[in-house]
Each structure stands twice: as C-alpha cells, then as structure tokens.
C-alpha cells in the first residue's frame, strides 16, 4: 500500500469543520478546498454531508476521485475492495493525465505534527484492566471479532496519545540517595494531560481544580555502566464532579550524566476510574472499574527499522 499511495493521516475536524464558525475560518485554506473538491466528486452515500468526514479516501494528485468512504473503519473487506478499485481507476487516470507515477519513497510512520521532532516525547497508552465479572481486559481476536459491530470495539479498546515534555529534566533527581519530589507543575501537567480515560473515545484534559492530590517522587539508585537508575513513586486523585481517577504510580528511569539525557523513562499508573466525559463512551459503563496507563519515552526508530 505504501508503495502505491502517498499515505497520510490527519485530523479532520479543522480540515472540514462541521460547525459554521470553524468552517468560516478554514474555507480559504488550500487543504480544505482540495478535500472539499474531492468530496463533492464522490458518489452520494460515500461522502457524508452535512456531517462527519471521518473516513478513508483515495485521491488523485489533483483531487480526482478514485474511491473512499466516510466512517469506513468497521468493514475491512469493503476497504480492501475500495482500494483495489482505486488502483484500477488510477491506472486509467495516470495514463489519461500523463502523471509521472514515480516510486513512492519508503518513510517511517511519523508522529502527530504537534509532537513530531520534539526532543522528549512521551507515548501514553491507556487500557481497561481485567474485571472479574466485567466486559473488559479482552484482546482483539481477528478470527472471532473481525466482523463484529463497531460498538463492540469497547471490549478490547485501548488508546495511544503523545505528549512532548520540554521540561523533562524535572524527572532527573539531584545527587544524593534521598527521595525527592518531582516539580509540582510538571507532575500536574502530566496528570491533567496524560491520565485521561480515553480508552474508548475522546475525553478532555482535567481542569486545574480537578487535581485533588498529585505527587510523584524520584530516587536515585545504583549506577550501571555509567548510567544512574531512578525509581519513581506517586499517587493521583483526580475528580471534576463528572468523572474521577484515583491511581498509584510506579516507574523507572535511566539517566546518562555524560550525555545529559534521560535515556529511559517509564511510568505505570494503575487505579480506578469512575464516571463519563465527552465522547469517551462510558455513560453505559461508568464504573468504578480498574484502568491502567503506561507512559514511556518514545525513541524514534531509524528508517530501516521494522516491526514498530
């Protein structure tokens, strides 16, 4: 697929907003005009207007229609069939318009634009933890689940999020063996922006007054091969009236004093979530129920690296 298409993933809301106020803001932008022109050439039913434009689209270099479908993710066989049709149409189009059809260079999947290229990026995963009598903790099984209805995803959902941390040096303790508190501002931001229940869908960050208790300590351990081991321990209590998360944190780090780099940073938060927020699909399953977060420093692979 990456050899045939220039593959791109992007956020849709500000590309083709559903509300008039934002639509006015973007209507003259070339990306919006390009996508709109393409959409208006699509068959009725495949282009959703008015409404969400979330989906998968196959587009010629000048916005020509090849294939596509809004909200397409639930039916893999349909997507495959559309991609095959798109490639057949492409062969006709490229001959007709004499497109160069040069080889597509191999690229490594990038991070979302707002963190791409930043020095210290944390990859945040959230997942429901198993419950004795609950629906979660299940992993997707392609043999059984491939044709399940789209809402079934809540059984095996997990989420990935990315945050850049400019003041990452706050996670490096000063010399000495005593436990030290990580800077409160840094820890509060970590809690507000990363410990969010978005396992099943979007939820906003925590307001400041939701921080009932947030503490993270760090302690130097023995050095290994010139690198300092660090242990992190903490606790959070977040509650905004509609939802809450109470969790215990434990983590490990590895600081290289020579390179002045925190080469490894890994935190796990395990706790209980309760309530619902925005589009996070918890209204029918408000808990309390166990939830887990893994926060790890992202190290970009080289272009040759496989199996990311």
């Amino acid at each position: 697929m990456s050899r045939e298409f220039v593959t791109v993933a992007d956020e849709v809301y500000m590309l083709y907003p559903e509300d008039q106020w934002n639509l006015k803001r973007v209507k003259d932008k070339p990306a919006h005009q390009f996508f709109k022109r393409f959409g208006e050439a699509m068959p009725a039913g495949d282009w959703n207007h008015p409404g969400t434009k979330q989906g998968l689209y196959m587009i010629g270099p000048d916005g020509e229609y090849l294939e596509g479908k809004f909200a397409a993710s639930g039916v893999p066989d349909d997507i495959k069939a559309r991609m095959r049709r798109a490639l057949v149409r492409w062969q006709d189009l490229r001959r007709k318009k004499k497109y160069a059809n040069k080889p597509v260079p191999e690229v490594v999947s990038t991070l979302p634009a707002r963190v791409d290229g930043k020095e210290f990026v944390l990859r945040v995963h959230s997942r429901d933890l198993p419950r004795e009598n609950g629906p979660t903790g299940k992993r997707f099984d392609a043999k059984v689940d491939a044709k399940a209805g789209w809402m079934e995803f809540t059984k095996w959902a997990w989420n990935e999020n990315w945050q850049a941390v400019d003041d990452w040096r706050a996670f490096v303790p000063a010399k000495g063996n005593k436990p030290q508190e990580v800077d409160g501002g840094v820890v509060q931001r970590l809690a507000r922006e990363m410990l969010i229940d978005n396992v099943r869908g979007q939820a906003g960050k925590w307001p400041k007054d939701a921080l009932k208790k947030v503490v993270l300590t760090m302690q130097r351990g023995p050095s290994a091969k010139g690198r300092v081991t660090i242990t992190y321990r903490g606790e959070v209590d977040l509650d905004d009236g509609d939802r809450s998360i109470r969790a215990t944190l434990y983590g490990q780090g590895l600081y290289d004093p020579k390179a002045r780099d925190l080469v490894k940073f890994e935190l796990v938060a395990l706790g209980t979530r309760k309530g619902a927020h925005r589009f996070n699909q918890r209204s029918r399953d408000p808990g309390p129920a166990p939830i887990g977060f893994a926060i790890t420093r992202w190290v970009a692979p080289t272009p040759a690296a496989k199996g990311r």
Binding site: M1, E4, F5, V6, T7, V8, A9, D10, E11, V12, A31, F34, F35, K53, Q54, G55, L56, Y57, M58, G60, P61, D62, G68, M83, R94, Y99, A100, N101, K102, V104, V108, S109, T110, L111, P112, A113, H125, L129, P130, E132, F140, A142, W158, E160, N161, W162, Q202, T231, A247, Y250, G251, E266, V268, L270, G271, T272, A289, P290, G292, A294
Partner: protein, 76 residues
C-alpha cells in the same frame, strides 16, 4: 489473552492493582499495544494532508488519506 503470570497477579490483587517493582514490567506490557494492535504503524503515514498533497503532485502518485476527529496517529 492473559498470560499465566498476569492471571496469578489478578487473582492476588483487589479490583485496582498496585504497581510495584515486581509487577511493573508485566503491567506495562499488558497496557501497551501488541504488535498486532499497532500494525497500522507499519504503514509510512505522513502526518499532514497538505504537504502530502504536494508530495503526491511531485511524484505523480495518488493519496491514501485516513482522517478522524482527533489525529489518527494519536493525541485524541
């Protein structure tokens, strides 16, 4: 599917387990996506539509565009 170690951990812990030096790595692995779950990253996704359109025009190639509310590569 839970492995035996994780099943034993769950049997010994209350509803919200506590992360410790002993179980930290197991829980981290459990929460993080498996290679199957993150197979979408095997595709070389560019992260912004408009620069990708420019690239497609330079190459004379079609685009495959995946778009969601919230960036599909994360940050929801």
């Amino acid at each position: 599917m839970l492995n035996t170690g994780m099943a034993m951990l769950l049997a010994l812990t209350p509803q919200a387990p506590q992360p410790t030096a002993d179980n930290f790595a197991k829980w981290r692995t459990f929460i993080q996506p498996s290679s199957t779950e993150q197979a979408y990253r095997d595709i070389g996704w560019r992260n912004e539509l408009w620069p990708a359109v420019q690239e497609a025009r330079r190459l004379g190639r079609p685009l495959l565009f995946w778009t969601m509310n919230g960036h599909p590569l994360g940050c929801t």
